[in-house]
Symmetry: C2
């Protein structure tokens, strides 16, 4: 036990469900959204499968699936507690900001599809032009987002001190 003591479980749950609902609206599946929100709202920033299962009223199987997905998209990392078969799932702020903006893999595939479209519809056609411009937009975004994240690191240090 670690996290729950001394906190109002009602308040936690209210936040978790509300924030998860927003994530769902943005396209994340429900269970991963709830798991992620629960981690964000935990004091330690890490919870075990059992804790998640109890807090969210969900079967261990459900947690397992959600966690698998979230770690695939780098929104959490798994850690093994030394000398125990319990696993903890943790959010690293850095990591998840990256994941959020770092749609890099996705953007890359969009770009591929667009390049192919330009080629097959003809670069000189009106549609080809539109696709080419969209492609240029993505290429621009890709670069600029990376720079934005660097600016954020600076800003964060300003706001919260350099408590890396």
């Amino acid at each position: 036990m670690s996290d729950v003591a001394g906190r109002d479980p009602e308040a936690v749950s209210r936040f978790v469900e509300r924030f998860a609902a927003q994530l769902v609206e943005a396209g994340l599946a429900r269970m991963p959204a709830r798991v992620f929100a629960a981690l964000l709202a935990s004091d330690s920033g890490a919870l075990t499968s059992a804790e998640l299962s109890r807090q969210l009223q969900v079967s261990p199987a459900g947690v397992s699936g959600a966690v698998r997905y979230l770690s695939q998209v780098h929104m959490l990392s798994r850690e093994r507690e030394p000398g125990s078969r319990r696993e903890r799932y943790r959010v690293h702020s850095d990591q998840w900001y990256q994941a959020l903006t770092n749609r890099e893999a996705i953007i890359k595939r969009w770009e591929d599809a667009l390049r192919e479209g330009v080629a097959s519809l003809g670069a000189e056609t009106p549609a080809g032009h539109r696709l080419a411009e969209t492609l240029a937009f993505f290429e621009f975004i890709e670069k600029d987002v990376a720079e934005m994240m660097e600016r954020w690191q600076v800003r964060r240090a300003e706001l919260f001190g350099d408590e890396r």
Copy 2:
């Protein structure tokens, strides 16, 4: 007729389905994704309900639903052809770049949920700190994305000339 003549419908369809698949993966519903992709790939940048229905092999009802959604999230605009009950649906590049980045409404609601979380979990708790930092991140993003779009306008003019 306008768009299809002289183009390889196969090639168009291939692009539409591939690009739509990427949009789906990013969280858009299937039908809106296909409609949107078809518009992007059209020479005129605008299609009627009937054209979409035929090209995508989908009932008018399906098109109607997709179009309603897309116009709600500002990814297309509707225009009435003067003196006809036909309606055309159009992508404006500007508009859709905005829509893509302008998750503004979404971000705002995230921020609301986070602010509430900070308040109810306590700004001095570890969880409260984490939420506060996440909130700061979103506030930063929100501002910086707006600036990024301005930079894109400049870049676009460079690349394509000022063919507003």
